[in-house]
């Protein structure tokens, strides 16, 4: 992006890697990048304010937090799409939802406090919409570097 300079880019790239769990993590980073800590903090704040960073902090393992998660998909007839969407999104358990180019055109993630909550919510959506909710729980997660080159 044009409004990012080289330092912004290298900060953004470095921040996607794991930060040391110490009292002053930004000091460690600033030292590593050979810049002043306050300069680094100001830059990170600006990257966050401008929306290049959506969140900065610990990433928690969803399952370890005690909750349950499940990717779900529905084949929604185009003419019913908005009606079905309203019904699906009304469930607080629907964490995010995307329209996708496929016969299965609505893909959402259910996040519930218990594993039973997934079944209950998906069943409720089937009952309310008359449509099947295909469930794709993760069986195995493969490590990803999780970096977007800035």
């Amino acid at each position: 992006m044009s409004d990012l300079d080289d330092l912004d880019r290298s900060i953004l790239n470095r921040l996607q890697d794991d930060l040391p769990l110490v009292s002053a993590p930004f000091a460690v980073l600033a030292n590593e990048m050979r810049i002043d800590q306050d300069t680094l903090l100001a830059r990170v704040q600006r990257l966050k304010d401008d929306g290049f960073i959506t969140r900065f902090g610990p990433f928690f393992d969803a399952a370890a937090m005690g909750g349950a998660f499940c990717l779900c998909a529905m084949a929604v007839p185009e003419e019913d799409f908005e009606t079905v969407l309203t019904k699906v999104n009304a469930h607080g358990e629907v964490a995010h939802n995307y329209q996708r180019s496929h016969r299965l055109n609505m893909w959402f993630v259910l996040a519930t406090e218990t594993p039973e909550g997934i079944t209950e919510t998906a069943d409720a959506i089937e009952l309310e919409t008359g449509l099947q909710v295909l469930r794709f729980p993760k069986l195995q997660e493969f490590f990803v570097g999780f970096r977007v080159a800035a």
């Binding site: 953004l12 996607q16 009292s23 903090l41 290049f52 329209q99 570097g145």
Partner: protein
């Protein structure tokens, strides 16, 4: 006297992210009524157990120009998925990679890999590279582009308990 702060309370205090200050954990510890070393100890333990995966920034793909995202899906042999999934997940342009159950007969795919790019062609090119890696071991595949974000709330714990 250290108050009995649950892991859940620690997670809740950090869900919004770390404050961008010189001593971010001290600020959170104060909110929780813990000392900073006590909080760091707890977090180190959570990290060792995998409850915390990493401490990092979540970039905004769209803002960084990666406006196209394709969910690539592949049908690979069950016996090969561990090896192939690890290989695909390690690619620098794959941001999520999972084995999920098939839903036959409609959905034969068991390997899901999310790919982002600045253009449609870039995503297709990356998809082609994955296809080349999987080779003949992949029986069929598809790509689903997201056309609209319908909801995005992030994953939040309720405050009960």
């Amino acid at each position: 006297m250290t108050p009995d702060i649950t892991e859940r309370q620690i997670i809740q205090a950090l869900q919004g992210g770390l404050p961008l200050v010189r001593a971010p954990y001290a600020a959170i510890a104060t909110d929780l009524g813990l000392t900073e070393p006590a909080l760091l100890d707890r977090l180190a333990d959570m990290k060792a157990r995998g409850v915390i995966r990493r401490i990092a920034a979540a970039p905004n793909h769209y803002k960084l120009g990666m406006v196209f995202n394709g969910m690539t899906v592949w049908d690979v042999a069950d016996g090969r998925i561990a090896a192939q999934g690890a290989q695909i997940g390690a690619l620098p342009y794959v941001t999520h990679c999972y084995e999920r159950p098939r839903a036959l007969p409609d959905w034969p795919y068991n390997l899901f890999a999310m790919v982002h790019g600045a253009t449609h062609d870039e995503v297709e090119e990356k998809r082609g590279r994955i296809a080349a890696i999987l080779g003949a071991e992949c029986r069929s595949s598809d790509i689903l582009y997201s056309t609209r974000i319908l909801k995005k709330t992030g994953l939040r714990l309720n405050s009960r308990k």
